[in-house]
């Protein structure tokens, strides 16, 4: 095994081009487990810890450019206002020790359907910034990033540099089912974001299909129902039958399996419950904000 220690992003891209089989390691919270247990013996490890700008973020007009190695702890501490869904998801990641090392770039690189960041990213919307020495930068929409169980849209010579996550324009929520609060891999997870500016709702489901997915049919149904009932304007409580149908459609968009963590039917059921709850929470928060602004005006 060779340990490659590029001092800059350009050097890292050059190293990845020269050794496409090199395994990038940043926080190490996935890669080191596989090495410790001898599940993986990569020919090259590509250490990204020396590349400082991977741990930085910039808050732009529309989105936050989040460096691939920004640890979850920093997201929780610094980006709760801009990326509330991702901040909540970050808080459910493992333990403080792991959150101090791991970042969204690793979640995307591993592309496990159980990765905690995925449902939040899908619900918020955004793009993954990847780069290769040969072809430069490309932005992959988050919806097109996940290709299969632990497979993503990266080419062998590409590295993930950052993820551009849309800044929240409304309330966001994140929910995760597990046997305890800490150190738990999701049995299933659900992210939901209200986008009052475009009057849309976006969702993200984790651990209930081969890849993280959006519940598109449920989103379309809810968008139409909210529009039809004038809910965005009148701020009424969402009709229970609408919430139920939304939850059922979220369950239906899962394609889960039975495994040691839970059965497929449990996952479907739990996703429906989380969908209804996160919708209620975010909608209550949206109604609260409306009241405050109206009161101020």
């Amino acid at each position: 095994m060779d340990f490659l220690r590029p001092a800059s992003w350009e050097e890292a891209l050059a190293a990845k081009a020269e050794h496409p089989t090199a395994v990038p390691i940043a926080g190490g919270t996935d890669v080191m487990v596989e090495i410790n247990f001898d599940h993986r013996r990569p020919e090259y490890l590509l250490d990204l810890n020396r590349i400082g700008d991977l741990t930085e973020w910039e808050i732009g007009e529309e989105s936050v450019r989040l460096g691939a190695s920004v640890p979850y702890t920093k997201i929780m501490e610094n980006l709760r206002a801009e990326l509330p869904g991702l901040a909540l998801a970050s808080h459910t990641v493992a333990s403080p020790q792991i959150r101090n090392r791991g970042g969204v770039g690793g979640n995307l690189g591993t592309a496990s359907p159980a990765g905690d960041a995925h449902p939040a990213l899908l619900a918020a919307g955004g793009e993954v910034e990847v780069e290769s020495a040969a072809r430069g930068t490309r932005l992959i929409p988050i919806d097109e990033f996940y290709k299969g169980v632990k497979r993503n849209a990266l080419e062998p010579d590409e590295l993930i540099r950052a993820v551009h996550v849309k800044k929240a324009d409304g309330p966001q929520q994140y929910s995760k089912v597990g046997t305890r609060n800490a150190m738990v891999i999701a049995v299933c997870a659900f992210g939901l974001a209200l986008h009052p500016e475009s009057r849309t709702v976006r969702t993200g489901i984790g651990s209930a299909a081969p890849t993280p997915v959006r519940a598109k049919a449920a989103e379309e149904f809810l968008n139409a129902a909210l529009e039809e009932g004038g809910f965005w304007d009148n701020g009424k409580i969402i009709t229970p039958s609408v919430a139920k149908q939304f939850a059922d459609l979220c369950s239906a968009s899962c394609n889960p399996i039975d495994d040691v963590r839970g059965t497929a039917s449990y996952r479907r059921h739990a996703v429906g419950v989380m969908a209804r709850r996160t919708l209620t929470w975010t909608w209550e928060s949206y109604r609260g904000t409306r009241r405050t602004t109206e009161g101020a005006a």
């Binding site: 919270t29 890669v31 403080p96 101090n100 800490a182």
Partner: protein, 193 residues
């Protein structure tokens, strides 16, 4: 490969390090510092917790090569680390814990029951006084994590303590005494004892 890094305030060099080796292995097997415990090797148990550039991490999940030029504090150097912190830095210029001292470090002193006569960090003393040590295997990781909590948050709520220690497992299930110990250390810290 060779790895140069700072351990407990002193520069150290580890030779013949395998590229896939963890920081934990380097500490235990190359430097002879067995304080950081090796249990799950997958970040679940927190027994190997150390400070890396001040941040608590599972040393089993840090590749040895990643610590080149960086600063590590292990449980063996915790007493000195806490002392320097309370004194606002290193006054004498000869701080840190030598490798030899660290290798021989014990929480014993003249009285093995109370730890009297040994220099302990406030958190270590509180663990002894509160009876928060059973088999002792999880203790080093918990000490490093608790010490960092109290540095960051001098007056933690029970929820803060639980959260900060949520990555450390105690299979003797002595969590209540561990909670007591952290509360005790926090109380003593705020009284300036």
């Amino acid at each position: 490969m060779r790895v140069n890094f700072t351990v407990n305030g002193r520069p150290q060099e580890a030779d013949d390090v395998w590229e896939g080796e963890s920081l934990l292995y380097v500490l235990r097997e190359r430097l002879g510092l067995p304080g950081s415990k090796n249990a799950c090797e997958q970040g679940e148990c927190g027994s190997c917790t150390v400070r890396l550039d001040g941040v608590p991490v599972c040393s089993c999940l840090v590749a040895a090569g990643q610590v080149e030029g960086r600063d590590v504090v292990t449980v063996e150097g915790l007493a000195d680390f806490a002392k320097q912190r309370s004194e606002g830095g290193c006054a004498t210029g000869a701080c840190g814990t030598t490798l030899q001292d660290a290798q021989q470090w014990q929480a014993k002193g003249t009285d093995s029951q109370t730890g009297e006569g040994t220099e302990l960090s406030p958190v270590q003393q509180a663990f002894i006084d509160a009876g928060a040590v059973q088999c002792g295997f999880c203790t080093p990781g918990l000490l490093v994590a608790s010490d960092e909590l109290l540095e960051r948050n001098p007056n933690p709520s029970d929820a803060d303590i639980r959260e900060a220690l949520s990555g450390n497992l105690c299979r003797c299930t002595g969590y209540e005494k561990i909670m007591d110990a952290v509360r005790l250390a926090a109380a003593r810290q705020s009284e300036g004892v």
